[in-house]
């Protein structure tokens, strides 16, 4: 199994130079103008919150809601970490967009054959032993890439070494954790980070119980309905037989008299 990779984003260090955004756009051949929010031509953006800069990017969840929601299994979590989208399978239902707790996936609304677009953590470059374009472009190591375990240690080091950091790594455990996490010197809720809707549980657990019930419901419902059918049929047969008997008796009586 490949070593797990991850990306650490340090909000304290970020200077808002947009190098990551530009590098990403350049790599994908999009026009370099910065965009206010994620779009089908901006897989990461730098948002300004007060005097802080917050990168928006796919969190590459360990148990992704989008992957569990996709009816044709076009989205999957790869072993090194990136959550990958298989455009050959996608039917364009956009359920992944509804399912994602971070509302990351974007759609090519203006195309006639539209696909879902989101960050893939530069999966191809990682496979070749490199790192994502955004972390490579970061001049101040606010975004760094590496082995997941090393980066978690690095994140804790930064928090321990500087008391201004909030003692929390956002994205490490939220919604079951993922391959992208943040450290910050401003409380995360003030920067627009929402608490995950499921706490530290993976989002797909929300549907697991409803889906898990279905075999039980089918078996129970099937048995009850079959039993009811048998009972009503039996009653009908009995009623028919009784009616026949009655007519036979009355016929006999009629013959006698």
């Amino acid at each position: 199994m490949a070593t797990k990779k991850a990306m650490l984003i340090d909000i304290k260090r970020c200077i808002g130079c947009l190098s990551c955004e530009t590098a990403c756009k350049q790599l994908h051949g999009f026009s370099p103008e910065p965009e206010p929010t994620l779009s089908d031509t901006a897989f990461t953006v730098v948002e300004t919150r007060g005097d802080k800069f917050v990168r928006k990017i796919c969190m590459h969840c360990n148990d992704p809601a989008c992957a569990s929601a996709c009816p044709v299994a076009a989205i999957s979590k790869s072993a090194p970490g990136p959550v990958l989208y298989n455009a050959d399978k996608c039917i364009g239902c956009r359920y992944c967009m509804l399912a994602c707790p971070y509302s990351v996936p974007r759609y090519q609304w203006s195309k006639l054959a539209p696909f879902v677009k989101k960050c893939d953590l530069c999966s191809e470059r990682i496979k070749a032993g490199g790192q994502p374009a955004c972390t490579e472009a970061c001049p101040v190591q606010a975004s760094v890439f590496g082995n997941r375990d090393d980066l978690i240690a690095e994140a804790w080091n930064r928090i321990r070494g500087d008391s201004s950091y909030v003692p929390h790594i956002y994205g490490l455990e939220e919604a079951g954790g993922g391959s992208v996490f943040f450290v910050s010197d401003v409380p995360f809720e003030k920067l627009g980070f929402k608490p995950a809707p499921t706490g530290n549980l993976p989002v797909p657990t929300l549907t697991a119980s409803a889906l898990g019930d279905s075999p039980k419901v089918v078996i129970m419902g099937g048995t009850i309905l079959s039993a009811l059918y048998w009972v009503t049929q039996r009653r009908r047969e009995v009623a028919l037989a009784e009616a026949e008997e009655k007519t036979a008796i009355s016929k006999m009586k009629g013959e006698r008299s």
Partner: protein, 395 residues
């Protein structure tokens, strides 16, 4: 000549023409220009009117087919046999509109078959797709005799109908289970969007709420369709059957309202209902139209046993049901997604086109197939149905 043409132009024909012209243009925009030109959907509102009206209402309002067929075939409630075929036809056409609507909804419609071969058993939407596909086949099977019995080849007809009759009960049973599953899974689709769906609607039992609300709505639509058929076409059923349906609808609505109230209490969501928000307003509109008003109206025998009043009570149920589904699919999401979505006219026009096509097929099916008992030739009229209730039941 001119006067003859003039007399052919009726209000409904003009409306139908408008629906077809705008609908076909909207369809052209959807398939040849794209989503931008044909919808107001966005990254913040990826699912809109097509899902809310086309799929959620379309499937929900088609719930009568499995209910009535379970009553007649499985529970031996022969009383409802006269409206069995009509309810199966309504469901069949409803599912057809959903299947056509599915092609509008998905971005790559030529890949509509992907869910058949590319499975993801963890996905609620996958289960919905498979159930709807299978159940559409079941409905086709259940409805097939109405067409087969009109075929001119006697031998083929008898062989097929004999075989059909042999496996019918099993298929009906499967249909009831399939329906129960996907009627609830449509609500289950939104389970994963916790934090996005407004607390007035989000609950871990959303799927159960969808199931409970679909059956009365489907019955109400069936009553409406049969009433309209009796009014405008040469068919008639014993009206007391529809009155009983009215009673059943009321009972089911009370069950729904009870569980909805229970659910809100369990989730401590009542507070949201008394805030000055648009969500609260939509919530009360839903509760009024789908619960309070019809439950009140249908408790009166004067309403239930009067065709026109029963029709309007059922129309309230159907309207309330549509509000309820659009609430979940659009209104409940807007504030969390930070957007305001108003469907583009093209979204509405294409949905209405598909529904209108289904209505037209229903009309001709009732006219030319044995869907509802036909009125013997003679005086027609609105008042006749009440007086003459001893019409032979349709087998």
């Amino acid at each position: 000549m001119l006067t003859r043409i003039k007399s052919e132009i009726t209000l409904w024909r003009v409306i139908t023409a408008i629906i077809f012209v705008t609908g076909i243009y909207a369809t052209y925009l959807r398939f040849f220009v794209g989503f931008r030109a044909s919808t107001n959907l966005s990254d913040q509102m990826p699912w809109g009117l097509w899902v809310g009206l086309g799929t959620l209402c379309g499937i929900g309002l088609s719930a009568a087919g499995f209910g009535i067929s379970a009553a007649v075939y499985l529970l031996n409630m022969e009383r409802y046999r006269p409206i069995l075929r009509a309810s199966i036809l309504i469901s069949f056409l409803g599912y057809m509109t959903v299947c056509v609507g599915y092609l509008y909804e998905i971005g790559l419609p030529w890949r509509f078959w992907h869910p058949i071969v590319m499975w993801n058993h963890r996905s609620v939407l996958f289960d919905v797709c498979v159930c709807i596909m299978t159940y559409t086949a079941v409905l086709t099977f259940e409805f097939a005799p109405a067409v087969i019995e009109k075929l001119p080849w006697k031998h083929l007809r008898e062989t097929v109908l004999h075989f059909h009759h042999k496996i019918l009960v099993g298929i009906v049973l499967a249909g009831v289970l399939l329906s129960s599953m996907h009627q609830s899974y449509l609500g289950g689709l939104y389970l994963i969007a916790r934090g996005k769906v407004h607390p007035l609607w989000y609950s871990q039992y959303m799927h159960a709420m969808f199931y409970l609300s679909a059956i009365p709505a489907g019955l109400a639509l069936t009553v409406m369709a049969i009433y309209l058929s009796m009014r405008s076409l040469n068919v008639r059923v014993d009206f007391s059957i529809l009155s009983d349906c009215g009673r059943m609808i009321q009972l089911l609505l009370i069950v729904f309202a009870f569980f909805k109230a229970l659910d809100l209490t369990a989730n401590q969501a009542w507070g949201y209902a008394f805030q000055r928000t648009s969500e609260a307003a939509y919530f009360w509109l839903e509760m009024l139209l789908f619960a309070a008003i019809p439950i009140f109206l249908l408790s009166y025998d004067r309403v239930r046993s009067h065709p026109e009043r029963l029709y309007w009570a059922c129309a309230t149920v159907v309207a309330g049901f549509m509000v309820s589904r659009l609430n979940v699919s659009i209104n409940a999401l807007q504030s969390a997604m930070g957007t305001h979505y108003v469907p583009k006219w093209t979204e509405l026009a294409s949905s209405v086109l598909v529904i209108a096509a289904a209505v037209i097929v229903f009309r001709y099916a009732v006219m030319y197939l044995d869907i509802l008992p036909k009125l013997p030739k003679g005086p027609k009229g609105f008042t006749r149905w009440m007086s003459n209730s001893s019409l032979p039941a349709h087998a």
